[in-house]
Amino acid sequence: MKYMILTYASQQDYDGMAGKDTGKPAWTGEDFAAMGAFMQKFNDDLAESGELVETRALAAPVLTRRLGSKDGAAVVTDGPYAETQEVLAGYWIVECDSFDRATEIAARLADTPAPEFVRATAYADIRPLAEGQEDLVG
């Protein structure tokens, strides 16, 4: 069974990672390097165990474009996100034995090195992937 693990962050979080002081302190070089090294190992371990299907990090919310429609015509706008609004920041698709195993994998993310105020509110979602229409109909 495949599961998707989703993580979230705000524009403010991204700015902090990019070294900007945003009211909350910017990440230091050590913070950023430690996070990178942790993620690298996390991904390598999953690839090694054969459970990693795919993983991606998403660019900052400020770079988002939203496509909507107005009077039947497509309208493109810049990302509508407020600085502190949390949106999808990255995802992993893992293929593993059970929902519990997927949860166990995601739980390791709680150890991601980051400044304390970031760790305090971080969270992730785990959702099973529907393989076909019949899965959705149930």
């Binding site: 991204y14 990019a18 070294g19 070089g29 991904n43 991606r56």
Partner: protein
């Protein structure tokens, strides 16, 4: 000399075996599958049973046998489909010692293929990388890469490629050089993804360029490409700090540059340049050589770099080359001249939104002492790149200026 590792040996032999098979039997797409299976058999059997006396001949024999099987089953299927088919064997030639790698490279860089497919096919057929390795290196799911490679093989077949050096050899060589350089760059310039595998891509680019240079020793652009890769790769150890952060060339520890690669690159380009005709790879290699030979950033021969960029600009219409030229002008003649020249290219729609344009402007403004404008340009550049590493570098520059300019 120590024995090469199994992996090195197989990667060296893979294109030769595939070349021999395709020359003898045709059927590029099926032959490629057969060779992959022979390589797999070798990795399974050789470690336990020992290497055969002639590994190349062993692989050719096993792959030929497998190809025969594959073609037979294909033929049987065709018969079932009521198609008259005799097994179309290309007249058998003795398998000689000639290295067919070059022909194979030209096939993989067939003009009917997209650049992405050319790269994938080259890495698999010539580089001997498995589909899993290629997909990991390019961060796409393996299934996607499998589809891309089999489509590429179909296209080569459909385009009726014959196993011989193509008549449009000069044009095709350009594609071959470009593919090798793209592979190298993917490994060198990338700031995302599993770092180790990226380094391997850079080495694969160098390996391909070396192979090309061995096969075409008199081609000065081939020599230029190899020199360019070596002179660029030589700076790799100094390009990133302990935390993976980018370090610009001016701030790099030149003591950790790889001197052997610099020496080899300089020798190659010094020999190639007078041979002519001078092409873009030789010019870029010459520029890289001037950088690498400077004992310090301050002692760089900027007037020479500026002159080389001016020749390069006549050969290509690349906005990044124009931007680098601006930097060289500013370093050689002062920031005012650089900024004036920048004003002439910043309307180019290909780079008008590129963070590098803003980063260059920020540097030039900083050089000219306009701290407030420089700071704004650094911040602007930071918001325009998606790379967090680059954002961190640019934001740090902005912060430093803010600190030193406050009373």
């Amino acid at each position: 000399m120590s024995e090469p590792t199994l992996e090195d040996l197989l990667r060296e032999l893979a294109p030769q075996v595939l070349g021999a098979l395709v020359r003898r039997y045709g059927h590029f797409d099926t032959a490629e599958d057969a060779v992959q299976e022979a390589l797999l058999a070798a990795t399974r059997q050789w470690p336990s049973q020992g290497r055969p006396d002639d590994p190349r001949a062993w692989l050719i024999t096993v792959a030929s046998r497998r190809l025969t099987d594959l073609l037979r089953s294909e033929q049987a299927r065709q018969r079932r489909e009521d198609k008259v088919s005799r097994w179309p064997l290309v007249p058998t030639e003795p398998v000689g010692d000639s290295d067919d790698t070059l022909v194979l490279l030209f096939m993989c860089c067939h003009p009917a293929l997209s650049a992405a497919s050319q790269i994938a096919l080259t890495l698999r057929a010539v580089g001997g990388l498995t589909t899993a390795e290629i997909s990991r290196a390019f961060l796409v799911p393996e299934a996607t890469m499998t589809r891309r490679i089999s489509r590429a093989k179909q296209s080569v077949k459909a385009a009726g490629a014959r196993f011989s050096l193509p008549p449009d050899q000069a044009e095709r060589l350009e594609a071959v050089l470009k593919v090798s350089y793209l592979i190298f760059n993917e490994g060198y310039a990338s700031t995302t993804g599993p770092s180790l595998q990226r380094v391997e891509l850079a080495s694969e680019g160098i390996r391909l360029a070396r192979m090309l240079h061995r096969l075409l020793p008199d081609d000065s652009e081939v020599a230029g490409l190899l020199a360019l890769m070596l002179l660029t790769d030589a700076r790799r150890p100094a390009r990133t700090g302990p935390g993976g952060e980018l370090i610009p060339m001016a701030e790099q520890d030149r003591g950790s540059w790889i001197t052997a690669e610099i020496a080899e690159g300089v020798e190659l380009i010094t020999k190639a340049l007078p041979q002519g005709p001078v092409g873009p790879y030789q010019l870029q290699a010459a520029i890289a050589a001037v950088h690498d030979e400077a004992p310090s950033a301050e002692e760089t021969d900027w007037p020479q770099i500026k002159a080389l960029y001016e020749v390069l600009l006549q050969l290509t219409d690349n906005p990044m080359v124009a931007l680098n030229h601006v930097v060289a002008v500013a370093m050689a003649c002062g920031p005012a001249e650089g900024l004036q020249l920048l004003g002439r290219i910043e309307g180019d729609e290909r780079i008008v939104a590129d963070h590098r344009l803003f980063a260059v402007r920020a540097h030039l403004l900083e050089m000219s002492g306009d701290r407030i404008a420089a700071r704004a340009a650094y911040v602007e550049a930071a918001t325009r790149t998606t790379s967090l590493q680059q954002q961190r570098y640019l934001n740090a520059k902005a912060a430093t200026i803010a600190q030193t300019s406050s009373p």
